[in-house]
Amino acid sequence: MRVLIPGISGVLGRMVAVTLAEHGHEVVGIDKRRFPDAPDGIEVHHVDLRKRAAEEVFRKFRPEAVIHMATVSHFAARGHEERYRINLGGTRAVFDHCVAYGAKQCLFVGRHTYYGAAPDAPLYHSEAEPPMGLASFPELADLVSADLYAGSALWRFPKLDTAVLRMCYTLGPSGHGTLATFLRGPHVPVILGFDPLFQFMHELDVVGAIVAAFDARLRGVFNVAGPQPVPLTVLVRETGRKVVPLPEFVFSQSLGRFGLPKLPRGALDHIKYPIVMDSKPFREATGFEPRIDEVQAMHEYKQAYSIPG
C-alpha cells in the first residue's frame, strides 16, 4: 500500500515509517526536518505541509493511506500563532489533500492532553468526554481543535476512513516526548502534596499501536494507552531521578528560572492531577496489546539516560 507520513522525521514518525516499509508498504514522508539515515526506499520531501509543494507530493504519490504525525506540542520552540498554523493549518491541508487525491484512510495521531487535567476530572477517560481542561490551560486549544477538526472528517468525508488516536505519553530509550523531557535532569520537581498517576507507553508499543490502527483500517476516535499508570513519584524514582517537591507557589514562580522550562501556568495542572484514559475500545478494535510493561519502559529510559554518580 502507498502510505504518506507527514511528520515522518520525528522519532516516532521514523519508527513507524521503517516498520511499515518492512511490512512491504511503499512509504513517502513530508517533513521540513531531516530524516538521518533514511532507509532506501523511503522518500522524504522536505517541504512545508501547508504549502503547494506538499500538495504536489499528494498529487504525484496518490497515497492510499495517510498517517498524520505533523503536529507540535512543545511551547518553547515556537510562538503561539505559529503552533496554531502548524497544528490547524497542517491538519486541514492533510484532510483536504486526502479527499482531493483519493486516499482511502487517514490516521490522525493526537494526544491524551485533549482531556485536560483537573481536580474534578475522572480517572479513565472515555472517548465520549468533552475537552474540559481548556479553561485552565488555554494554550492547548490548538491541539484540542486539531483533534476535533480531524474527528469532523468522519462525517464530512464518509468515504475516507478516519481514525483519531489519543496517545498517552511515550517513555523509552529514545528519550522522545514531553514526559521523557520532563524527566531528563537528575532532579525532577513535583508539586508538594500532589502525586498524580501517569500513563505512558514504550515507544515500540506506540509504533505498534499506530501500525495496528493502520492494519485494522480503524474508523473513529480512540484512546491509546499501554500498561497501567504509576504515581509520578514512583516514575521519577524508578527512572533513577530524585524527587524535588516544591510548594505550588514556589514552582509557579520558578518556571523559566533555575533550569525549569518556561511553561504556561496551566501546565502545572498536568503534574497535579492525572490524565488517565480507558483504551479498551482501541484494544478490542485492533487486538493491540502492549508488549513492554511500565517497569521495563522506565528501566530502559533509566539505562539510556542514566544520571552519573
Binding site: 481536580p119 475522572p122 502525586d195 498524580p196 497501567q228
Partner: protein, 266 residues
C-alpha cells in the same frame, strides 16, 4: 504500633486487588499507603472508639457491591469506620471505596493520600468504573447535607440523592444498606462554621461545645442489612427511582432504630 502495622501488612496480603510490582493497582491504590492508613485507622477502630459491628455477613465477599449508609458525625468518621470494619471483619477483607467531596481533590497531601487509599472524588464516572471492576463502593446519599447534621438531628435522615439507585440498576449491583450510629456523640456538632471552612479550604468546620473538632472516645455502631437488588436499566422515570430510594431510606431508618435499641440495652 509496630505489631499492629505488621498485622495490617499480613491482612493486606488477603486483599483481592490487582497490585503491580510497586504495590499499586490500576487506580493508584497503594499497598504502602493502605498499610499506614489502616494502622492508624485500626488504632481508632479497636482502641479509641468502642466499635460494634452487626450483620457483616450480609456483605458479599466478592463482586460489585454498593454499601449505602447514613451520615453520622461532622467529619468522615462514618466512612472511616465502615472502611475499617470491611477490612477486619470480612473474610477475605475488602477495600470499601468512598466517593469524596469534590473540594478534597484540591487539598494538597490529603488528595493524594485519599486517592492512594482508594477514596476518589465523587463523580458518577468513578462510581461506575469501580462497580464495573467489581469493587466495593461506599455511598452516603445524603451528601454534604448529611454531614452537617447538628447533635439533636443525629439520628435523623435528610434528603437522599437518587443517582446511586440509577447506578445500581445500570450496573446490576446489589445495595447493602447500613446504619452508622454514634458519630453525633463522637462529634457533637452545635454549629457549622463556614467562615472557618473557607480558611482551611473546606465547605465548613463543625464546632463542638468544647470548641475543636476532636472526636470523643464513644461507642459506635455499624449495622449492615441484607442486600436489596432492584431490577431495571437505570433509565426508569423519576417516580420509579424515588420509590426505590425510599425503600433504601426506610431500611436505613429501621436499622437506625434497631441500633438505638441495641445501644439502650447495653
Amino acid at each position: 504500633m509496630w505489631e499492629l502495622s505488621r498485622e495490617v501488612g499480613d491482612r493486606l496480603k488477603h486483599l483481592e486487588l490487582p497490585f503491580n510490582r510497586f504495590g499499586v493497582d490500576p487506580y493508584g491504590v497503594s499497598r504502602r499507603h493502605l498499610r499506614q492508613a489502616f494502622t492508624g485507622l485500626t488504632w481508632f477502630y479497636r482502641s479509641y472508639f468502642d466499635v460494634h459491628v452487626h450483620g457483616v455477613e450480609h456483605v458479599p465477599s466478592h463482586g460489585r457491591t454498593m454499601l449505602v449508609g447514613n451520615h453520622s458525625g461532622g467529619v468522615a468518621l462514618d466512612g472511616a469506620m465502615v472502611l475499617a470494619s470491611m477490612f477486619w471483619e470480612l473474610n477475605p477483607p475488602r477495600l470499601a471505596q468512598g466517593m469524596a467531596e469534590k473540594f478534597m481533590a484540591k487539598v494538597p497531601f490529603f488528595s493524594s493520600w485519599t486517592n492512594r487509599c482508594g477514596q476518589f472524588t465523587g463523580l458518577p464516572e468513578h462510581a461506575e468504573q469501580l462497580l464495573r471492576d467489581d469493587r466495593l463502593l461506599m455511598v452516603f446519599p445524603e451528601g454534604a447535607r448529611g454531614t452537617q447534621k447538628l447533635y439533636p438531628e443525629r439520628h435523623s435522615l435528610v434528603r437522599f440523592g437518587t443517582g446511586f439507585v440509577r447506578l445500581a440498576l445500570k450496573t446490576n449491583t446489589p445495595i447493602v444498606p447500613l446504619a452508622f450510629l454514634g458519630g453525633g456523640e463522637a462529634i457533637p456538632t452545635v454549629y457549622n462554621s463556614k467562615r472557618l471552612g473557607k480558611i482551611v479550604g473546606a465547605p465548613y468546620v463543625p464546632i463542638t461545645p468544647y470548641g475543636v473538632t476532636v472526636p470523643l472516645p464513644v461507642r459506635l455502631d455499624v449495622i449492615y442489612s441484607e442486600p436489596i437488588r432492584f431490577e431495571g436499566s437505570g433509565n426508569e422515570e423519576d417516580e420509579v427511582i424515588f420509590g426505590h430510594v425510599q425503600e433504601v431510606k426506610a431500611r436505613i431508618a429501621g436499622l437506625i432504630e434497631e441500633g438505638r435499641r441495641l445501644r439502650r440495652q447495653s
